[in-house]
Symmetry: C2
Subunit: 308 residues, 2 copies
């Protein structure tokens, strides 16, 4: 799957992943009204609105980008109904030949981590059958529990030719509270980065590993160091746009070949119609506003890479 | 909810939480056959088997214990159908007046962590309505992302009078890989413990805080130190039984008053019928085997506390 991701990035010329993290406040009134008219102000109604919103955006941007990253928390808050919308979104994106990164940040120990890996990347045995549950292409993984927590994901990746992105240095302001703690003069995230490199050696694609890393755009200097520590890891970079990361900050996450990083934008793309810059599209054409935002982001990253 | 947990622990005389982490291999053939006959060898069939299995165990042990801890990964691997069984299990346990600890190990940043907190402990706004999704009483939380990741859970806990258990030192063999790293001569997990104490001060129940901690039974010496660092945190202790933790190891996790810790056993209780010790019950009476295992565990912990 990492080979497919790289190939699609080359094909689209866009190292961009669209974060499908819908909040009800991003959804135009007309969609909400229709969904509530059909299902009431219920979890089902909310899930229907989210699904219709996602579908319109996907239809408008799927030819421009290699991948999407649905954030499962935004669906999980609507319970089982929300997770049905998550499932539909994943399936629809795969139909559109998009690479799907499930932003699930799971991580547990032993058989429990194996169950999460099965849920999101693998197949579960039921009687004589082998069945898929959510079946994303990649998943994000929390490393706090150590190798016991990550290895079961690596095993499933090998078997299914899928991939993971391990949280190394997250984009939020307080990520340093634990991640930056100095151990023998080096921050914890560097040790996690070394492990990512180690885990990744077990499962290499053509030029990058099945095991990638998450490093926030908000910490470009750290990205520079981590790029060297994990040369074969694709870096998933959140924090661009709404969180404050700029195009110029991103160059350190890429390798010389212009590959090695994929930059996420969520609100900046899916709620573009609410920004002044794209207000001309109006609520009715929110999908086109998202398309314009993707084109602008592609340009911003291309310029930053050219001028380095 | 921490007050209810303490009160129920006193009432039952059992500092025990039963881990409802069903694997299909724990479920007697007769239940599987019936579920597959009705729903086929499908995700729905698996979910039905899990639900029937859980229900029988809950019926057999609910008067003996204060709390249950369903591990969501074991349900999530069966997709939406599995999560319906999770939901049914949570609801049924609450009907039986058990405190429900959702072992979800979620953790993200800002609005995403808030969405997870909403999913498991809070209420989500849909139009004019405020609706619950999974609605457990407690949830486990991963601290790797720092305060930004944990605080949204604390806010929901305050509002809903619910609680969390933050992963501090997990029970698995490789937990030390990152958690034991020395920072100025002290391991990372102690810093996390200090944060748990700090977060917990914001939301105190009568004698313990809404913010508890997870510390593995497999590391009793570390438990002793963490007990002092977080005097007001209830400690959820996994790793007893199948993972190797013994009754005698547990004493350090408790305070002088015999409170302050709740010990989890999953396989040891729910798959008791497969152990030689409880084989006499047979597959048909697996619920009674679970009951016997709970009684033995209660005795084991009581003896350990008495002889300290």
């Amino acid at each position: 799957m990492i080979n497919k991701l790289v190939q699609k990035i080359k094909g689209t010329g866009a190292s961009i992943v669209a974060g499908l993290d819908p909040m009800l406040s991003y959804i135009p009134e007309s969609i909400l009204k229709k969904a509530f008219a059909e299902y009431g102000e219920t979890l089902e109604g909310a899930a229907e609105a989210i699904w219709q919103f996602n579908k319109e955006i996907i239809d408008n941007i799927c030819d421009l980008i290699p991948a999407v990253k649905p954030q499962i928390a935004m669906y999980e808050q609507f319970g089982v109904e929300g997770l049905k919308a998550f499932q539909k979104t994943v399936n629809y994106c795969k139909e559109k030949d998009l690479v799907v990164i499930g932003d699930v940040k799971r991580g547990d120990i032993g058989s429990t981590s194996a169950a999460y890996a099965t849920a999101h990347l693998g197949k579960v045995t039921v009687g004589e059958k082998r069945l898929s549950a959510f079946d994303e292409d990649f998943a994000t993984v929390n490393p706090y529990l150590g190798s016991d927590g990550v290895k079961p994901f690596v095993e499933v990746c090998k078997k299914e030719k899928k991939g993971i992105f391990v949280l190394v240095k997250t984009s939020n302001p307080s990520s340093g509270e634990f991640q930056d703690r100095l151990i023998n003069g080096r921050p914890l995230y560097e040790y996690v980065g070394e492990k990512v490199d180690e885990w990744g050696k077990e499962c290499m694609g053509d030029s990058y590993s099945y095991v990638g890393a998450v490093v926030g755009a908000t910490y470009p200097e750290m990205g520079k160091i981590l790029r060297k520590i994990m040369p074969k890891a694709y870096i998933l970079v959140p924090g661009y746009g709404a969180q404050g990361g700029k195009g110029a900050d991103l160059v350190h996450f890429f390798n010389e070949d212009g590959l090695g990083a994929i930059v996420n934008s969520s609100r900046g793309i899916i709620a573009a119609w609410q920004q002044e810059k794209y207000a001309k599209f109006g609520a009715e054409h929110f999908g086109e506003a998202s398309r314009a935002a993707v084109l602008d982001m592609r340009e911003d990253i291309a310029q930053a890479l050219e001028s380095r």
